[in-house]
Amino acid sequence: MTLLSAKDIKKSFGDLEVLKSINIEVEKGEVVSIIGPSGSGKSTLLRILTGLETADSGTISIEGSTGLVFQQFNLFPHWSVMKNLVDPQVCVAKKSLAEAEKTAREILAKVNLADKENAYPCELSGGQQQRVAIARALAMNPDILFFDEPTSALDPEITAEVLKVIRQLAEQKMTMVIITHEMNFARGISDRVYFMENGYWIAQGTPDEIFENSSNERVSNFINKLNQMV
């Protein structure tokens, strides 16, 4: 079943054409990664798909609800971890407080933060904050979860704990679209990979097609460069 289908998406900021004709489809249970150089338009696409930005033209159809995990977490600092998870469920999804708390506790256990429900975001490490942010998004029971570079603001040692949570979600067949610069992670987790450059997909395919033997020189150069940095 196709959960997301976007066709011929275009977006400019002033004279700058950021997205030039983007098509993307995501099936239920699929994990899709988006990679590509800085400034190519990846975040802009995700912001359009999650409603933070509107496209200039094109069509988007999404079955169900979406969630978004930001690079900078964007937790609500004046609320405890528990309240961060509970308030949207009560205030937006109109669940009862008891039900919302039950859901919150189950999800916090999943992301290994059961003992932090009363902590405030400023008392947590970056990795813990990002796991709370993932939990907050999950608590709203989204049909598709989007990630915009979820580990780019984290120290390398902490990155692993966040990637582990995302891998668990993939095992549970959560539908996800992930922008990442973690090539090994993208390769391991994805069903399909899209490569963006200058507002176009210049390659797309299975991880093997993209990472192993890409016929596209720009793609293989980009991947080699990232591999050398590690």
Partner: protein, 215 residues
């Protein structure tokens, strides 16, 4: 005039000073928020009008504004201003302080990271919910030090009501001092203002501490 009768006479003035102080805060803190919201209105006419008003209120002496509020109705419409003294003082203070508070609120709101709005939007909060539940509580914490400054200034500014011959503590001190050729009324008034502001500092310190559970 003994010290204790002097103190007794002046304590009525202290009460009036406290009255101006409390009523001004009750009026201007919310009115400032109204100014601040209107200043961000979709309609350019409203935005520019409010900007102009705030600009005038901050750019002219409060003493002059008090005189305008008091004598304005008489000069403009020939109105009888006999019972207009206290209302004029209150309007003058409330509107003037609202202008300052509006700018403090604006600074606080503009200092909020855009990520807070985006996270709220993606989770499905409405604009009003986002402002009330997520933005405003954080803004209040950020602007508390500036609010404290204004409140301390207000305690001292209440003495400007003497311009309209309102019998608050400063007016009384001047009168009694002149009548009895004594310096003591000024000392009493000085101690009163100082103690009042000391209390303000203690209260505001408590309020700030109560919000320090997060950064």
């Amino acid at each position: 005039m003994t010290f204790s009768t002097m103190l007794e006479t002046m304590s009525a003035g202290m009460l009036r000073t406290c009255g101006i102080f409390v009523l001004t805060l009750i009026g201007s803190l919310p009115l400032g928020l109204v100014f601040c919201v209107l200043r961000k209105s979709r309609f350019a006419v409203i935005r520019w009008t409010i900007r102009g008003i705030i600009s005038v209120l901050r750019g002219t002496p409060l003493m002059l504004q008090l005189l305008v509020w008091y004598f304005g109705p008489y000069f403009l419409f020939g109105a009888n201003v006999a019972n207009w003294r206290f209302p004029a003082i209150l309007i003058g203070f409330v509107v003037n302080y609202a202008a300052y508070f509006a700018e403090i609120y604006r600074g606080g709101i503009e200092s909020m990271p855009v990520g807070q709005y985006e996270a709220a939007k993606v989770l499905g909060y409405t604009k009003v919910q986002t402002f009330k539940k997520i933005i405003l509580p954080q803004v209040v914490k950020r602007i508390m030090p500036s609010i404290t400054n204004e409140v301390i200034t207000l305690v001292k500014d209440t003495s400007l009501a003497f311009t309209l011959a309102y019998q608050e503590v400063f007016s009384l001190a001047k009168q009694i001092s002149a009548a009895k050729s004594s310096f003591m009324p000024f000392v009493i008034a000085g101690v009163f203002y100082f103690v009042a502001n000391y209390l303000v500092e203690i209260v505001m310190d408590r309020v700030e501490k109560s919000m320090q559970y997060y950064q």
